[in-house]
Amino acid sequence: MSTLNLNLPIRKGNFALNVDLSIPLQGVTAVFGASGTGKTSLLRAIAGLDRHVGGLVNFADQMWQDHHNFTAVHKRGVGYVFQEDNLFTHLSVEENIQYGTSRASNTKAAVDHIITLLQLQNLLTRRPSQLSGGERQKVAIARALAILPKLLLMDEPLAALDQTFKQDFLPQLKALISELGIPLLYVSHAADEVAQLADNLVLLDKSGAAKCGNIIEMLTNPELTLAHRQEAESLLTATVNSYDAHYHLLSLQLCGQTISVSGKPLAPGTSVRVRILAQDVSITLAAQHDTSILNIFPVTIEQIFPYSAAQDTILLNLAGSQLLARITRKSKDLLGLKTDQKVFAQIKSVALSQ
């Protein structure tokens, strides 16, 4: 598999970020970090919008930047969607989308297909000022995809939009990207977007370091900051078993266990992701039956590490998958929890994403 290799010393005022990464050019890679960790700077450097002296950018077999060369933005063949102000105000929606296609020699049929997928057919003659924020971003995404980029870069494209739009649009975006097979680098500081979209994760932290890896592994890795957040979470993949129309519950197959999740009906066999916050997982020594909690699984304690003065985070192994639980230190001591112990995890709430 080809990769995007980066070695970038990014300096901006007092801020320094040292990126030395190899990012797989497949699927969606989220660039995640708090604000001020240099997510946008990293994306701009990859696109060639900013030049950092002494940096290396190697895309598959093309050297975009080294000590002697710097490929200009328009010759890199990247698509870029900014957080806002994407559209050319002097052009209609259709002209905006077509702006890059003549230069990239894409076919009309392919462009029409993208327009259809994003449901923009009825907006083509409008001016950008006549669009809603969500429509504007969809047009910007269509325009970036219409040049058939080798790599698509998105800088918090949905950050300025409301939650309802985001919930509707994210699955659409994910399907679109996987259909077109264009690798996507997606900058976000919203954990829910990242959990829903990403296969891989580039994690930037305040110390100026960057790490890259599989999102599922990184979320629960005690070495990384992700597992130490207040909203620490685990991501697990599951397949749909059946749908209980009476209780409106989906039954999922997860690591050999069956888990019930409320949600819309999905076809059996559909692959889904479940997101479980560490604070929604509690631990019991024996399986409880007289409880309102539906999802109770046998797990093994892999590691216990401190979170705050009062709480610990516990890394659990659920038939090969990893799950985080956060409990008070007092409970941990009362239950006498220790590594390799077999216990039960009670999962209070599960979020589902397709």
Partner: protein
Amino acid sequence: MLTQADLTALLLTLQLALCTTAILLVLGTPLAWWLARTQWRFKFLLETLIAMPLVLPPTVLGFYLLLALGPRGFVGSFMQTLGGEPLAFTFTGLVIGSVIYSLPFVVQPLQDTFHNIGKRPLEVAATLRAGGLDRFLTIVLPLAKSGFITASMLGFAHTLGEFGVVLMLGGNIPGETQVLSIAIYGHVESLEYVQAHLLSAALLILSFFMLLTVYGLRGRMRVASM
């Protein structure tokens, strides 16, 4: 009615204003673009120089230009060594004077327009595979349309009303340097008020309709882009 001499003055004035505006657009566009983009910390020096004609009495500017372009001046003597004529008291000399005199009226609106367009549309265009010149032609020019109209009209109108620079540098040679404002002054001096009225009215009406066009167009464009 207008005499032949007055007509000649009117045509010469229009010719001067047209030449000056055309040259200013050619020179002023890259200059304004550079000023709007550069991070050079002594940019303000250049901006000050360009703004000088706004505050300097035209006679002062005309005086220095006369010295420079006359037979003893460095430009004038250089022209002579090339086998040409000194530029003072010629139409070419007037064009040079007007270009300097009207420079801020073209450069400043263009610089503001370019500045207001900002970097974003150009960055977007670059990611859509447009090269530098392509970006300028397809993004900057259309977005700066109203700025160009304003700059041209202001440059043109300001040259039209020029008096002091012409008086110092060009004198009053009919068909060569006698522009409208000088002709009006001449008529008043010789107490030919009817002629002065006619020419003044012509200039007044011309200026009014030009500005009307500018504001009309800008208003409509503002509505269209909404």
